[in-house]
């Protein structure tokens, strides 16, 4: 376990600063979303079995645990998307000196998504099963 933590720290966060933290979060959310793509495509493919099969597959996505996962996924998308725009802005415009301020802008945008998404996902997470 200690070895795993050392390994992750060395590969994801050897330095602790705004640039490294945003990069590590971008990589973690990116890998998570790429993995999510697989079950998502499998679900969509149930459509080849017709309406009944498709509706049954969508039925898997009920329950508070799934709602919580979807909530996290939406936040992961939000961070990856807003930080991606930050990265692109720093790439194509000479904004290296404002990258830290831009990161706080990204976090503010994520906070807004967090708030908006809670109206959708919190009721589903708290609803009786």
């Amino acid at each position: 376990m200690t070895n795993l933590i050392t390994l992750l720290r060395r590969n994801l966060l050897p330095q602790l600063n705004v640039g490294s933290v945003s990069w590590a979060m971008h990589r973690i959310t990116g890998v998570a979303l790429a993995i999510y793509l697989l079950p998502h495509f499998v679900t969509i493919n149930s459509a080849r079995g017709g309406p009944a099969a498709f509706d049954e597959a969508l039925g898997w996505y009920a329950g508070p645990l799934i709602a919580a996962t979807e909530y996290l996924l939406v936040l992961a998308v939000a961070f990856h998307a807003f930080n991606g725009l930050r990265v692109i802005a720093v790439d194509f415009f000479d904004l290296s000196h404002t990258q830290k301020a831009l990161f706080w802008g990204v976090m503010a945008a994520c906070a807004a998504v967090l708030l908006g998404a809670s109206f959708v996902f919190l009721p589903r997470m708290l609803a009786p099963a």
């Binding site: 990589r27 990116g30 890998v31 979303l33 790429a34 793509l37 697989l38 495509f41 969509i44 493919n45 149930s46 459509a47 080849r48 017709g50 309406p51 498709f54 509706d55 969508l58 996505y61 979807e70 939406v74 998308v77 998307a81 991606g84 725009l85 692109i88 790439d91 194509f92 998404a117 959708v120 996902f121």
Partner: protein
């Protein structure tokens, strides 16, 4: 243009396409999450989804761009992680073949999954 895609790992073409697909996904994934979790919230059924997707050809155009963009952005992003660890040429080539194979398979799988939902407009 000679320098683009000249075989050296993750040169300009991959870097640029990651950004182009990323900007498109900012819009497309925004639309996707908004419709699925807000507009159609709590009523995700075949009936509701097909009614929306088959209302004009625009959704078909959207998915024909969305699926390749997602698959490319995800696999090129993961490939970038591979390159960060500077693999030797032989495993690098093997992994590149694997990424291309898996990416193309996912692209076809994703397209055929969406086709029944898009109805006649989705058929080539």
């Amino acid at each position: 243009m000679r320098a683009v895609g000249r075989g050296r790992p993750h040169s300009m073409a991959g870097w640029l396409l990651q950004r182009v697909s990323g900007i498109f996904l900012f819009y497309a994934l925004g639309v996707h999450l908004w419709t699925v979790h807000y507009v159609n919230s709590g009523q995700l059924t075949w009936e509701v989804i097909t009614a929306r997707l088959q209302d004009g050809a625009l959704w078909t155009v959207y998915y024909l761009l969305f699926i390749p963009a997602v698959v490319y952005h995800a696999s090129n992003g993961l490939w970038g992680i591979v390159l960060d660890y500077n693999p030797r040429p032989a495993p690098r080539r093997a992994l590149l073949a694997l990424f291309w194979g898996a990416g193309l398979a996912l692209l076809i799988y994703g397209y055929f999954g969406m086709r029944p939902l898009l109805g006649q407009a989705g058929a080539p």
